[in-house]
């Protein structure tokens, strides 16, 4: 006798484990083992996978508004194999929802909900609810844009429920608003309460299943009986492995799970729930105003109620599909509606250009966040503060919000026809300045602004024939000296005496209208200060208030100047003005 079997004997005399094992494994399967029965076991496989990967992730996750995203980012990109564990958990969760659906469908079609198995059907529905609860709570935990906005919609729906809504919502959120307490609560549900409930219901579900046994199909050969082990279990294990392979392939293909930019309550984000909730999402589009609650709560509630009542409604003893068809019609209708609504939602998004554009922007923001975070570079006040301080991300956002309705800059801003302010692409360069000297009323300069006609070209004769007679174009050499000086000012040349000839020419030739180092011949002209033009100080002052003589004059703010540039020092914090000025200067010169 080997030492292994001796050890087994020792243990068996003290625990009778062999009797337990035999009882568990020798369960008869009337009608024989079938692939149709595997889904319950595959679900247990899913749960095991989720538990194992979940525990590993718990060793890294930190639930608070400033650390959740950072810790998930760290796990995904800075811990060897972290992406795979997160990928397995992410796609494992989706597999679980799919398999729950298949299990439910199999039980419904085989009529396994019928007496005496009603209680087990209800336990199963409870397990379905917990599974969806896992999905909903888990989606929020990375605290990225996707999870944040989708889950906010879900808790807001909970808030619309009559009578108890507000209470339930603030209970879930840990207060009236989303924040760290929302995360700690969702985390508690996800890793504490739901697993305990799931384990409890699962044990009861399995005990009742063993009490009643499998429900063979109506036309099964009842003379054939297999044992659970190994005949059925081999099929079950095959199913579990197939599930794992599918999940692993998806995890490898996506290199883990997606992680969007950090949750930003101030952003506009094209929120969508995870795909298996898209049907519910789509349904909300059809109920307006006070009817909202019909789509959000009433219809899903009726569907759940029908599922729960099914064993009480369908009481005939026959399990033949034909005799139960009528009772199953609502189920098929539900399945059909879920598929149809999901397809409609996906197609609507695909055709929605604004949505696609918003998705691209969201993707860029996500990339920016990843680039900044790297490993161990997130500031103590969190990833959102990190992004907010990032000139690139913040600058783009500020420009989009405050400047892009009039100014173009590279790809940003209105179409050239709709721009009502100079195109800032190249602003501060010698080429840009030269184009201004030569053709100030070009469409990309003053042509579509309230300054049209106020600056004269130095090469084109004026429209007025009298003036045209005496007009002499400025020699190219002089123009080049002037723009060299201006470009030097914009680039903040170190030597204050740089391009002295250009400065001299400006003092002689431009101060009839322009300010230059505070001097001008015409106090009523709109011509801006040319000293320091395009420098950080000039740009900052101009954004803060264009009418202070530091850049343009008081006339720049004249209300009769329709569509003039507004001041921003009453809208933006000084830090933001500074950041925006620096960003515009850099972007204008093609800096990335």
């Amino acid at each position: 006798m080997s030492w292994l079997s001796r050890m087994g004997d020792w243990l068996d005399t003290r625990t009778s484990y062999r009797t337990f094992l035999a009882h568990a494994l020798d369960e008869p399967v009337p009608g024989g083992a079938r692939w149709a029965y595997i889904w319950g076991s595959v679900l247990v496989g899913c749960m095991t996978l989720q538990a194992i990967t979940g525990w590993a992730m718990m060793a890294y996750y930190a639930p608070s508004a400033t650390t959740a995203w950072a810790s998930v980012e760290h796990l995904s990109y800075c811990v060897s194999g972290g992406w795979l564990v997160r990928g397995l958990h992410h796609f494992g969760a989706q597999a679980m929802v799919v398999v729950v659906g298949l299990h439910l469908a199999q039980v419904a079609i085989f009529g396994a909900y019928k007496a005496p198995r009603e209680v087990n059907w209800w336990l199963g529905l409870g397990l379905l609810g917990i599974t969806l609860g896992f999905s909903l709570t888990g989606y929020l935990l990375p605290w990225d844009q996707k999870g944040y906005w989708a889950t906010r919609v879900a808790t807001n729906i909970a808030g619309t429920v009559p009578l108890v809504g507000r209470f339930v919502q603030s209970l879930l959120q840990g207060g009236p608003e989303y924040g760290s307490l929302t995360l700690t609560r969702f985390y508690t549900l996800h890793v504490g309460l739901f697993p305990a409930l799931l384990a409890l219901l699962l044990v009861l579900h399995l005990l009742l299943f063993r009490k009643h046994g499998v429900t063979p199909g109506a036309r099964a050969n009842m003379f054939k009986v297999d044992r659970f082990y190994p005949a059925q279990l081999a099929k079950d294990v095959g199913g579990v492995l197939l599930m794992l392979v599918v999940v692993a392939v998806l995890a490898f293909r996506e290199h883990g799970a997606p992680l969007d930019a950090p949750a930003d309550p101030a952003s506009d984000y094209p929120a969508r729930p995870e795909w298996y909730f898209l049907s519910l999402f789509q349904m909300l589009k059809y109920f307006e105003g006070r009817l909202e609650v019909v789509g959000s709560v009433l219809i899903p509630g009726i569907a759940v109620a029908y599922l729960a009542l099914l064993p009480l409604i369908d009481r005939a003893s026959s399990r033949a599909l034909r005799s139960r068809f009528l009772y199953l019609v609502p189920l098929f209708a539900m399945g059909g509606a879920i598929v149809a609504l999901t397809v409609m939602s996906v197609r609507a998004d695909r055709r929605d250009e604004a949505f696609q554009k918003a998705r691209v922007l969201a993707g860029k923001r996500s990339e920016a966040a990843m680039t900044l975070a790297k490993c161990g570079l997130i500031p103590p006040d969190g990833p959102l503060a990190m992004l907010r301080r990032d000139p690139e991300t913040r600058g783009t956002a500020l420009f989009q919000e405050h400047c892009a309705s009039c100014h173009r800059l590279g790809e940003l801003g209105p179409t050239p026809q709709k721009a009502t302010a100079p195109d800032l692409t190249g602003w501060g360069t010698a080429e840009w300045a030269m184009s201004m000297l030569e053709d100030p009323d070009a469409a990309q300069r003053f042509g579509q602004t309230s300054y049209k006609g106020e600056m004269i070209s130095l090469v084109k004769p004026p429209a007025d024939p009298k003036k045209a007679k005496t007009f002499k174009p400025m020699p190219e050499a002089d123009r080049k000296l002037i723009v060299a000086f201006l470009a030097g000012e914009a680039a903040e040349a170190k030597d204050p005496q740089h391009d002295a000839q250009g400065a001299k020419l400006i003092a002689q030739r431009c101060t009839a209208c322009h300010l230059f180092r505070g001097q001008t011949d015409d106090d009523d002209s709109a011509g801006p200060e040319l000293a320091g033009w395009g420098s950080l100080a000039w740009t900052r002052a101009h954004i803060a208030n264009p009418g202070t003589n530091t850049t343009y004059r008081a006339d720049a703010m004249n209300p009769e100047r329709k569509g003039h540039m507004p001041r921003f020092d009453d809208k933006l914090e000084p830090d933001d003005v500074n950041l925006l000025a620096a960003w515009v200067r850099k972007k204008a010169r093609g800096g990335k």
């Binding site: 020798d26 008869p28 009337p30 496989g45 095991t48 996978l49 194992i52 990967t53 525990w55 590993a56 992730m57 060793a59 890294y60 650390t67 950072a70 810790s71 980012e73 760290h74 796990l75 800075c78 811990v79 060897s80 194999g81 972290g82 795979l84 564990v85 397995l88 003379f223 054939k224 009986v225 297999d226 044992r227 082990y229 190994p230 005949a231 279990l233 081999a234 294990v237 095959g238 579990v240 492995l241 794992l244 692993a248 975070a373 490993c375 161990g376 570079l377 997130i378 500031p379 103590p380």
Partner: protein, 181 residues
């Protein structure tokens, strides 16, 4: 319990093959699910990367008096997991001045890491009563080695002269100094 029609256990090649499928398949599943998870959970234990100790300015020479040990915190930028801190307490040292020379002793007890205090003329650990003489040498108690000395240097001139320390941490509970982190 023997159900009519149920095959007796342990017969036939097919049963053997099915058993192999069940056991082998289960093993593959456990390995597939738990392998990556274990690797991730154990990753920090296998991380041997270390950051080079830097010279950190911690006090002015004029803040110290001859023969009077002073406990000063060591503050610097540091990284904890995903977070970058600009100014964070890394630890503390006892500074001992002897005219123009300064010695630094880590406040961390080499035994099990409690903070060493000034006791009478020497030093002592309040946890397990290890005692050290005024120069940091072990006198009694469970500490396996003397207090950990750190490299110091005095930089600058006159009133501005200040002390820099090369701050390191060492493994506790072993007789030899073994740098960590």
């Amino acid at each position: 319990m023997r159900h009519p029609g149920m095959a007796p256990p342990g017969k036939g090649d097919r049963r053997g093959a099915l058993r192999t499928i069940v056991l082998g398949g289960s093993a593959v599943f456990v390995a597939g699910a738990a392998g990556p998870a274990l690797r991730v959970a154990m990753a920090p234990a296998f991380d041997s990367s270390r950051t080079e100790a830097r010279w950190l300015r911690i006090a002015r020479l004029s803040d110290l008096k001859d023969g009077e040990p002073k406990r000063v915190p060591v503050i610097s930028d540091t990284t904890d997991a995903w977070t970058k801190y600009a100014r964070e307490n890394l630890g503390a040292v006892w500074l001992l001045r002897d005219r123009d020379e300064v010695r630094a002793l880590s406040v961390t007890c080499p035994h099990l890491g409690c903070g060493i205090e000034k006791v009478n003329k020497g030093f002592g650990c309040p946890c397990h009563t290890s005692a050290f003489d005024p120069s940091g040498k072990r006198v009694s108690g469970p500490s396996p080695r003397d207090m950990d000395a750190l490299e110091t240097r005095v930089i600058g001139d006159g009133a501005e002269r200040s002390i820099e320390v090369r701050f390191k941490k060492f493994r506790q509970g072993v007789p030899d100094r073994e740098e960590i982190g």
